[in-house]
Amino acid sequence: MSILWFALLGVGVLIGLFTALTVVVTGLGVYNANDVTFWVLPMAGYLFFALTAAGLTLLSSLPSVFGMKQYYPMAKRASLLAGATLLVGVMCKALDLGPITTLFNTVHLVISPNLSSPIWWMAILYGFYFTFVAVKFYFIHNNKWHSMGGKTFAVLALLLMFMAYTALSIVFGIADARPGFFGHFTAIYFAVTALTSGMAVLVLASHAHFAFSGGMPGEQVPVYDNLSKLFAVLIGAALFVFILRAVIGFTSLQGAFDGFRYIAATGIYRIEMWVGLIIPFIMMIIPVVRRSRLGLILASSFVLVGMFFGRLVMLLGAQIQPMGNLAETRPAFVTYFPSMYEFGIILLALSLSLLIYSIGVKYLRLDATPE
């Protein structure tokens, strides 16, 4: 099983690497993007993975930073997952910039910074955030949870998560030209859904692991039981912000929300709503489902699929209505379907994050707690 699983991930990584190489050599022309819909699937991948990482970082900090000691058994796992999702998230963004010549230009983030740009803050803060998450995991792995370094990097990773997350929210929040990004409401939407998708990854990764490794150690049952309940609450909260966003989007008289209303009538919005929120919420409030491993695996998978589509909904809602002179010779709403290369980037991100986690499960004793 293990060999087959690693072989499968290897194939995914190889296909993904071929895609990434094509993008780096030829540029973004291989994506089905254009000047109207210019932030598409790879950007949705970035949002999905980076926000999931934010949720996981917070969860992994519960015992070490907030003193909720009962959650130690999941902290190392959450910490590795945070690093893996953050890495692939940043990779998705890098593969959404351009060919190698453009990637070289990123040196100007350091030598020609623009402090009034939220994108600049986001890039820099995510750089530090990833470093701190990696160093934090290093300390945890060496069982130095409570050393000076361990504590410092746990706090720093959390702090940088908040800062990077804030910068990301402001990127959309200040886009006055595109109210379809829902302005600063997006910060709230991101906060709740980031936590929900982080929790979904933790629930899925843990229970899938226990399913294949012969069950959950007895002493961890109350921990994961609590997490399941928390997961149910989080899906409920995500459903609440989803409804709030729908109310804003549907009741606004501004034409800028027509794109959102258009997207809301499509399949991807329905997937976000039904698969990502309503169905898993119903599943999770039924105690017998919430206590079953299969129920948890299914519900968390559903949430993640829905959240991914949700990121695309958010991006496309603000873009599919051509703006200014771009509306010339175009229909009121443009259509978009990802190219094989865009799917390839997501495949790479998914395979790579799963590979890192699987290596962690196999070699890094992810349920280790402080002695």
Binding site: T26, G27, L28, G29, Y31, A33, N34, D35, F38, W39, L97, G98, P99, T101, T102, L103, N105, T106, H108, L109, S112, P113, N114, S116, S117, P118, I119, W120, A123, V171, I174, A175, D176, A177, R178, F181, P322, M323, G324, N325, L326, A327, E328
Partner: protein, 241 residues
């Protein structure tokens, strides 16, 4: 230091698109990219129908959101308040495309003028292939390559960065007009210094009620439209139903 602006007289504009073509030639724009553009609108019900034509370009906003949001200062202000772009600093993040309310920045998705690299002859042995033609006239990129914008910008911008109208600073510095103004056959475009009380742009702004695009966003565009063209007369009525 001048403060450049443009006034477009909609009564003089015939909608010929000469500015669009002129800009493409002057700045070697790749297929599908337009710095100088247009917005049209058709209103009414047949037979009472009207077609409105408005030439557009970068508004060189005083309060440019594209400049504020650009992470590496690739978009920046140069002399005269021109919103300029440096392709060597551009990281292709396309945040300017999010922030510009007018749809001005274009991202170069493919190698520019790549169709001119085609070696297929239309009639074998009788016509040039696109590539042979470019080589024959010793041009770069496409046969009518203009090297002039190389001063301060890149004559042809590379793949993977954005590009946009720059008010032709390579011409303005030489005392010439931006090329769209130069080629406009009906003199509908007037370019000048807003800080010079005697400039033509100020004369026109002092005479006519000017309109700017999406002023409510606070971008303070520096392209002004005057004299919406309408030759019609109609019979007055008392609020007919």
């Amino acid at each position: 230091m001048p403060n450049y602006a443009m006034v477009i007289d909609l009564q003089l504009c015939t909608g010929c698109g000469g500015c669009i073509i002129g800009c493409k030639n002057e700045n070697n724009l790749p297929e599908g990219v337009r710095w100088s553009n247009k917005m049209t609108e058709t209103l009414g019900r047949f037979p009472n129908v009207r077609y409105h034509y408005r030439p557009t370009l970068c508004n060189h906003c005083e309060n440019a959101p594209c400049v504020r949001g650009c992470p590496t200062r690739a978009l920046h202000k140069i002399e005269g308040g021109i919103t300029a772009h440096d392709p060597d600093k551009c990281i292709g993040c396309r945040y300017c495309m999010v922030n510009c309310p007018y749809g001005v920045p274009n991202y170069t998705w493919d190698r520019p003028h790549k169709e001119w690299q085609d070696t297929t002859e239309l009639i074998e042995g009788a016509t040039y292939s696109p590539k042979a033609l470019v080589d024959a006239v010793d041009a770069k990129g496409w046969p009518i390559f203009n090297p002039d914008p190389d001063v301060g910008y890149k004559a042809i911008r590379p793949v993977g960065v954005i590009e946009k109208c720059h008010f032709c600073p390579h011409r303005v510095r030489e005392g010439l007009l931006p090329y769209c103004v130069e080629v406009c056959p009906s003199h509908a475009r007037v370019f000048g210094d807003l800080d010079d009380p005697n400039s033509k742009v100020n004369e026109l702004l002092g005479m006519f009620r000017a309109e700017r695009l999406r002023p409510e966003l606070g971008t303070r565009p520096k392209v002004f439209y005057i004299r919406e063209f309408c030759p019609c007369v109609y019979e007055r009525s008392k609020g007919a139903i």
